[in-house]
Every structure is written in structure tokens, then in C-alpha cells.
């Protein structure tokens, strides 16, 4: 049953991403991208990563896509795309082929060692993914979390500086 769910979601993700890059109208592309995001979020749920799934929907499907649509509507580009890159089909095919082979090789090498984490299956069942994630974030990964807040402050100041009229 779980397998079936995965196949449906994965198929949906692949199909919608193919539609996304082949549509001529940028708004259509953006909507197909939305579908891709949702199906990937579904796969995350199946992997017991509810937090990442929620972030995927909130940030990507929510914020980034809306931003995308805003830009498309403000710029009103011609349907033939924004920029013409020379050899773009060749470049795209080569790049995706390299990444494809890379992912295949990674999946092939079954002896990915890794270190077993400290959280067992029981802990997940008892507290849930989101709670444990939050605990880790505010204990072991406190420093990067706080650094990110500085980064957002800088980005905010910068956005105001660059966008404000003098």
C-alpha cells in the first residue's frame, strides 16, 4: 500500500516537472511546479519527515511560488522565455545526465555507512518527528540557528537599502 502511494507520488512529480519545463507560458510552468512541490512533500510524509513536508509546502509552494508568480506578472515576459542561452538543450541534457548518473551511483553503493542516530524508533513513536527536530535545533544546533537569524537581519537591511527610493 505504501509502495503504491510512493509510485503514484513519484510518477506525479516526474510528469509535472516535465510539464513544467516544456510549457511556454511561465504561469503554466509555475502551476506545474506547484504540483511538483506537493508531490515531493507527499514523499517526505511517507519517509516520516513530516516537518520537512510542512516546510516544503509552506516555503516552496507557499512563499517562493507566489514570489515567482509576482515576478512573472510584473515583468510580463514574452512567452518565448526570458533569456536565450546558447546550447541550452545540450547543456541541460548533459547536466541532468551527470546528476542522474551521480544519483544512480550513490544508490548503487549500498554500503553507505553513516552513523546510527541517537533516536530510536520508539523515541520517534513517542515524541514524533517535529518535537525531536525542535529539540535538536534548540540544543545541539543552537549556534547555526542563531547565525541564521543574523543572516536574515542582514538580508532584510540589504533588501531595504537596495529597494528604497532615495
Amino acid at each position: 500500500m505504501e509502495q503504491l502511494g510512493f509510485y503514484i507520488l513519484a510518477f506525479l512529480a516526474i510528469i509535472s516537472s516535465i510539464f513544467m519545463i516544456t510549457r511556454e507560458n511561465p504561469v503554466h510552468s509555475a502551476l506545474w511546479m506547484l504540483l511538483t512541490f506537493f508531490s515531493v512533500a507527499g514523499i517526505f510524509v511517507q519517509l516520516n519527515a513530516e516537518f520537512i513536508a510542512a516546510i516544503q509546502v509552506l516555503v516552496y509552494a507557499g512563499a517562493i511560488l507566489v514570489l515567482y508568480l509576482f515576478v512573472v506578472m510584473l515583468l510580463n515576459p514574452k512567452s518565448k522565455g526570458f533569456i536565450r542561452i546558447p546550447f541550452r538543450y545540450v547543456l541541460g541534457i548533459v547536466a541532468s545526465f551527470v546528476i542522474f548518473v551521480q544519483v544512480l551511483l550513490t544508490l548503487q553503493s549500498a554500503n553507505v555507512i553513516g552513523k546510527a542516530g541517537v533516536y530510536t524508533q520508539e523515541a520517534y513513536k513517542q515524541y514524533g518527528n517535529v518535537k525531536l527536530f525542535g529539540y535538536e535545533l534548540f540544543s545541539n544546533y543552537l549556534v547555526p540557528f542563531e547565525v541564521v537569524s543574523i543572516m536574515l537581519l542582514v538580508a532584510m537591511i540589504g533588501a531595504i537599502v537596495l529597494a528604497k527610493k532615495d
Binding site: V112, I113, V143, V147
Partner: protein, 475 residues
């Protein structure tokens, strides 16, 4: 608890000061925004004095994600130098172009916090967060002159390529995390030690991570953004950008490869020696053909990254000490040179930074030309100036660890580099001026260039004091 606080204290102090700077910026009147920069200088000196690791102590904090030691402090010192000199040198340039805003200094200040986290990180997540803080600040600084198309292009280009390089870095990081199950440097080292390097994933992750870091130091073949970005950005920002982020990335690379990838030394030595040769040679050869001094210095910044990489490859104590010393020296001489370039104003039809603007400067403005001469000689590595001492230590480190061929290539390259640095001085002293050129020298930039010139001479004559500053273990 106390250890945690001590290990993060310098960054904490800087963050608090940065927030105060924002408030000062709001209070300051429209014509006194340079005060924000001066307050920043005061704050950074206070933070610098407060964070000296007395007796060379070494304190880990937050479960081994962060460390404050002499090595972190040495790089903090470099960032402080870069901040102080570029602040002093930038005031007049920015005022003349009407972009003197307090945010320029605030953003520069916050970028330093990111860089400090990069160097003092012993955990990949801290390294990445610090790197992004630094990078975002740099994108803003590059595009700070909103009315100038070149500055816009520079900011946008830096942003796109920087985001791309961050993605590559993160992708590699995820591979390393997947293989070792940890983001801590020590755990990664133990895992590689225990399991060897035969797995495809760890090698791929390593190469991609190091490539992502190589983007930040503009090593060839990851340099394509550097010339345009450095040329287009406002000149004082370029001075800052060629020194501080490069030093930070170098510090982070050294700490990362020294601790985490120590068992894989042969691999990354090969990787970095290829990069070093390419970077030095390419940077120098292309710089030969430049007629715009700013662009020439952009290419020279690329080639200097190559010299610093020799220190990484040599992989001994002297190597990383000389990297810290080199970045410090490079900070003085490069920001000094950029300060002087930012003062030139050509009343003719050509760009201010063209080499023809320097013609006949020696007679008209003897002090400025003398300072420029010192910077150019030092960049070329002519004794007894500081640049020579920096290169000397780097090449010594390479010879000590037995990679003499790399040292020879480095020396050949610094000989080639002499040509284009000397060309500027020849134009200054032996050519008649074709255009009417003004040097818009105001007290602030005068002080900046004089401090820089003075330190270039002092470090050249007494290098041992500055070498002692960085002479502590990093592991």
C-alpha cells in the same frame, strides 16, 4: 556553561555592537552617516581587545560546534583590519557619489560576524550559516551603488553565482553527512579514519564541498564571477571584498581540511595543488593584458588566492600560519591600493581607473604616488616590504613539506606579476600626463592609505612579531 559563553563571546559582542550600530544609523543625521562607520571602528577595536585568547587558550563550546582560539583571533584581526581600512577609505568615495549611507557600514560589520563564525566553526552547519551571512552581505555591498549599471550587474552576478556555489557546497555537504552521519569535524575525521576513502560518496562529497569553498576564494576554474564583480562594485567595497571574504574562506578551508579531512590528506592536497597552479598562472597571465587598474587588481586578487592555496597544500604548521600572515599583509596592501584608486578622478573622457590616469602622478601628487608605489612593490613581492615576507613564508612552508615544484611555480608567477605591478609605477613616474587628473584626497582616506603603507613597511621589516601572533596550534 561558562565555556559556551567564552567560546561565542567575540561573536556575541560583535552582534550586540552591530545592533547598536543600526540604532546609531537611525539617530545619525543625513550628513553625518560616516559616524556610523567610525563607531563601527571603535566597536570592532573594543571587541578585538576583549576577545584576545590570553596565553593562547582554546575553548570549545556548544557541544564542539564552535571554538575560540588564537587561530580564530588571528583571522578576526584580519577582518578588523579590512573593516577599519575600508571604512576610512570609503567615506569620501561614497560621499562624492551620494551613496554615503549608514547601512554600508552596518552590513560590512554584520558580514564580519559571519566570517568569524566561518573561521571558528568546527561543525559544518555553523560553517554554512556563517558563509551565507558573509555572502549575502557581499552581494549587497557589490550592488550598493544603485544608480550605476555596472554595480547592479556586479551585485546580480555575484548573487547568482554565489547561490549556485552555495548549492554545490550544500550538495557535497549532504553527501558527507550521509556517509559519516555527523556534521562535526572531529566525527567526520574519525569516520573517514575508520572506514577509508574507498566509497564513491565521500569522494564526491569532498570534491563538491571543496569546489563550493573554492568559489568563495575565486580559485580558477571557479573564478568566472570575480573580475566583473570586483570591477563593477564600488571601489572601497571591492577592497573589502577581495580581502575579508577570501581570508574567511581560507581560514575555514584550512580548519576544515586540517581537522575533518586529515585522513584524506593526499586527496585534497592533489585537488588544491591543481587549483593553486591554475589560479596563480591564469590570474597573472590575464592581469598582464589589463589596462584598467581596478580590473588588473581584480585578476591579481585571483592570483593571490593561488599563493595562499600553496599554504593549504603544504599542510604543515608553517603553512597555515603563513596563510594567516599572508591574508593580514594582503589586507593592508590591497585595501591601500584600492583606496588610492578610489581617489583618482579623471577629468578627461576615459574611466577614472584606467592606467593612463596614473601617468605623471608622481610629480603632481608625490605622497599619493609614493603610497601607491609601496603597495605595488609590496603586491609584487619586492623586499623589504610586507608582501615579500608573506610570499617568503608561504614558499618556505611549501619547501619544508617537500613540494618544491609548487614553490618554483609560485616564484615564477610572482616574477611574471612584477610586470603589471611595475607598469603602474612606470606610468606614475616616467610618463607625462595626458589627462587632467585630480586626486580627491580627504583626511579619512589619507589616514587609511597612510596606515596601510606604514604597516606594509613595518611588517616587512619586523615580520616576526606578526608571525608570533599566528603561531598557535589549530587542531
Amino acid at each position: 556553561m561558562v565555556e559556551n559563553l567564552v567560546s561565542i563571546m567575540p561573536e556575541l559582542l560583535m552582534t550586540i555592537f552591530g545592533l547598536i550600530l543600526i540604532v546609531i544609523d537611525v539617530i545619525a543625521g543625513k550628513n553625518s552617516k560616516s559616524g556610523v562607520g567610525y563607531f563601527g571602528i571603535f566597536f570592532i577595536i573594543v571587541a578585538l581587545l576583549a576577545s584576545i585568547p590570553v596565553g593562547g587558550f582554546k575553548i570549545f563550546g556548544f557541544g564542539g560546534t564552535l571554538v575560540w582560539d588564537m587561530y580564530s583571533f588571528a583571522f578576526f584581526f584580519v577582518f578588523a583590519i579590512a573593516y577599519i581600512l575600508s571604512t576610512l577609505g570609503s567615506v569620501d568615495y561614497l560621499r562624492e557619489r551620494g551613496i554615503l549611507k549608514g547601512e554600508f557600514y552596518t552590513i560590512m560589520f554584520f558580514s564580519i560576524i559571519g566570517m568569524m563564525f566561518m573561521v571558528s566553526a568546527t561543525d559544518l552547519s555553523v560553517l554554512y550559516a556563517g558563509m551565507e551571512t558573509m555572502a549575502i552581505s557581499m552581494y549587497i555591498l557589490a550592488g550598493f551603488e544603485k544608480g550605476n549599471l555596472k554595480s547592479n550587474e556586479s551585485g546580480l552576478k555575484y548573487f547568482i553565482i554565489g547561490a549556485f556555489s552555495s548549492a554545490i557546497f550544500l550538495f557535497g555537504l549532504s553527501y558527507i553527512y550521509g556517509y559519516t552521519g555527523s556534521t562535526k569535524y572531529v566525527d567526520i575525521a574519525n569516520m573517514i579514519q575508520a572506514n577509508g576513502l574507498n566509497n564513491f560518496n565521500i569522494k564526491l562529497g569532498m570534491v563538491m564541498m571543496l569546489a563550493g569553498l573554492a568559489f568563495k576564494i575565486s580559485a580558477v576554474p571557479f573564478h568566472m564571477w570575480a573580475p566583473d564583480v570586483y570591477t563593477g562594485a564600488p571601489t572601497p567595497a571591492t577592497g573589502f571584498m577581495t580581502v575579508a571574504p577570501k581570508a574567511a574562506a581560507m581560514g575555514a578551508i584550512v580548519r576544515f581540511v586540517w581537522i575533518a579531512l586529515e585522513p584524506a590528506a593526499a586527496q585534497w592536497q592533489l585537488f588544491f595543488s591543481i587549483l593553486a597552479v591554475l589560479t596563480m598562472t591564469y590570474g597573472n597571465l590575464v592581469a598582464l593584458a589589463q589596462n584598467n587598474v581596478k580590473r588588473m587588481l581584480a585578476y591579481s586578487a585571483i592570483s593571490h588566492a593561488g599563493y595562499m592555496l600553496i599554504g593549504v597544500v603544504s599542510a604543515n604548521e608553517l603553512g597555515y600560519q603563513s596563510i594567516a600572515l599572508y591574508t593580514m599583509i594582503y589586507g593592508f596592501m590591497n585595501i591601500g591600493a584600492f583606496t588610492i584608486i578610489s581617489l583618482l578622478k579623471n577629468n578627461g573622457v576615459i574611466e577614472n581607473e584606467r592606467i593612463e590616469s596614473f601617468a605623471g602622478l608622481g610629480k603632481k601628487y608625490p605622497v599619493v604616488s609614493l603610497a601607491m608605489l609601496i603597495f605595488m612593490f609590496s603586491l609584487a613581492g619586492i623586499p623589504p616590504l610586507a608582501g615579500f615576507m608573506g610570499k617568503f613564508y608561504i614558499f618556505t612552508a611549501a619547501v619544508k613539506s617537500g613540494i618544491i615544484w609548487l614553490a618554483i611555480i609560485g616564484v615564477i608567477n610572482s616574477v611574471i606579476a612584477c610586470y603589471y605591478y611595475m607598469r603602474v609605477t612606470i606610468f606614475m613616474y616616467f610618463k607625462e600626463s595626458e589627462y587632467d587628473v585630480d586626486v580627491n584626497m580627504k583626511p579619512a582616506s589619507f589616514i587609511a592609505s597612510m596606515i596601510a603603507a606604514l604597516f606594509v613597511i613595518i611588517i616587512g621589516v619586523f615580520p616576526s612579531f606578526f608571525m608570533d601572533l599566528v603561531k598557535y596550534m589549530i587542531v
